[in-house]
């Protein structure tokens, strides 16, 4: 998918319509990332709002010449969500988040956004090797750096890179056909 640079530039110039279209394109995925961390719909909704308000207010800090817009969104979403999980109020309500990953969410949830797509993915994800689930969860959903992932998984850096590539390739084959 080519990045919609025209829409991004329009949004940076204050175009609400362009912002609305970017929201439609990216909000579900960002919501998925946030939800996989906080595991609470109400909190995740609030964080999604906060994230997109930040996107609008700080739109000028992104440049289409540098980095992917989606990666920029991911960083805002993860930072906002992690700040929230560190807050006292949040800690009091949620105790053991680290034990859950995206596959747990998929297998425990009945209602998904894109039902058909989800069913196909669900089958695939069930078939994903536990090692793949772990590495994608850390690097993509939880926002670990490769060094942090390497330490957590007790794997050399090079192995983290190649395993991550292999796992995402498998995902690609399934998602994009």
């Amino acid at each position: 998918m080519e990045q919609p640079n025209d829409l991004i530039i329009a949004m940076q110039n204050g175009d609400e319509k362009a912002f609305s279209r970017l929201y439609t394109m990216y909000s579900e995925a960002i919501y998925g990332i946030i939800y996989s961390i906080v595991l609470d719909e109400k909190t995740a909704e609030e964080l999604l709002q906060d994230v997109f308000i930040k996107v609008w207010n700080n739109a000028s800090s992104y440049s289409v010449k540098k980095g992917r817009f989606f990666t920029w969104l991911l960083n805002i979403a993860r930072n906002t969500t992690i700040d929230k999980t560190r807050s006292k109020a949040f800690k009091n309500t949620k105790k053991n988040l680290s034990a859950t990953n995206f596959v747990d969410i998929l297998s425990s949830s009945d209602s998904f956004n894109r039902a058909t797509n989800a069913i196909g993915l669900k089958k695939f994800v069930d078939a994903l090797k536990p090692a793949c689930i772990k590495i994608i969860d850390l690097l993509y959903f939880k926002g670990f750096t490769q060094v942090e992932a390497s330490k957590t998984l007790e794997l050399p850096l090079g192995t983290v890179k190649t395993r991550n590539r292999t796992c995402i390739n498998e995902l690609r084959a399934m998602v994009l056909g």
Binding site: S36, L106, T162
Partner: protein
């Protein structure tokens, strides 16, 4: 590194995840700019990860977007002076409201001023009416007096000024012998100094016997400068002297202002 090596390195996946170190980011970005196939690969990785995250998301509430939109509209112009827009309808509305308020204040002030001046005018009117009534009654009184003096029953005498005291003074006496009524016109006399009063005397010559007729005071006033006396004794002469307030038993001849003889 060749494009193929970069694609196989696993750095592109980490780049999309945001997990790459800054030096490697620069390397990847240079490769993206130089090789379309690297860019294409990045796009495919991104798309599959996007789908994966979407799958995990519960349904997004429509209200979420409404909330975002309301929030950004409220803070739209804060810290962004470049695209500050003027809300002309609102400005026009406020301007109209301010003008309207100003107009109302001005009209209230006008009404207030008019009310005040109306009150003043009404007061003036009342004063003028009173003055008019006074003048009219005075005029009627004067006319009545004039009517009386003109009648044939009254005879007029002029009392001339005493050369020693007041050579320019004079007084006029209108006498009705039958009814013993006299009107005395003192316009020719100077205004008496404070604490003093004019007293009218009737004089008998042989021997000189003065009889007080009365004081020139408001009690006897019959018109402007005209005083009325009843039971006026008919004698040979009249005189007017200046006396201390309240009058005297006998005339102070040194202060005799006017004197006139009557030829009966």
């Amino acid at each position: 590194m060749t494009p193929e090596e970069i694609i196989a390195s696993g750095n592109l996946e980490l780049y999309v995840c945001g997990a790459l170190s800054p030096e490697e980011v620069t390397e990847v970005e240079e490769a993206i700019a130089a090789h379309p196939e690297v860019k294409r690969e990045i796009e495919l990785i991104e798309e599959s990860l996007l789908h994966l995250a979407e799958t995990v998301a519960p349904p997004v509430q429509a209200m979420t977007w409404t909330y975002i939109l309301n929030s950004i509209r409220n803070v739209k112009n804060i810290g962004d002076t470049k695209i500050r827009t003027l809300n002309w309808p609102a400005i026009t509305g406020w301007a109209a409201a301010i003008l309207f308020m100003g107009g109302i204040m001005w009209m209230l002030k006008q009404t207030n001023d008019l009310n005040n001046s109306l009150q003043v005018t009404t007061t003036e009117n009342t004063v003028l009416k009173e003055e008019k009534a006074t003048v009219e009654s005075q005029l009627a009184e004067n006319n009545k007096t004039l009517e009386i003096l003109r009648s044939k029953d009254y005879l007029a005498y002029t009392l001339l000024g005493n050369q020693a005291v007041a050579p320019e003074s004079f007084a006029k006496v209108y006498l009705n012998n039958k009814e013993k009524v006299a009107y005395i016109d003192v316009n020719g006399l100077p205004t008496p100094p404070s604490g003093k009063v004019y007293q009218v005397w009737s004089l008998k010559m042989e021997p000189l016997t003065p009889t007080s007729v009365g004081l020139i005071d408001p009690e006897n006033k019959a018109g402007e400068g005209i005083y009325k006396f009843v039971n006026f004794p008919t004698q040979e002469a009249f005189g007017i002297t200046l006396e201390p307030e309240g009058g005297s038993q006998t005339p102070t001849l040194s202060q005799l202002y006017t004197l006139g003889m009557i030829s009966i």
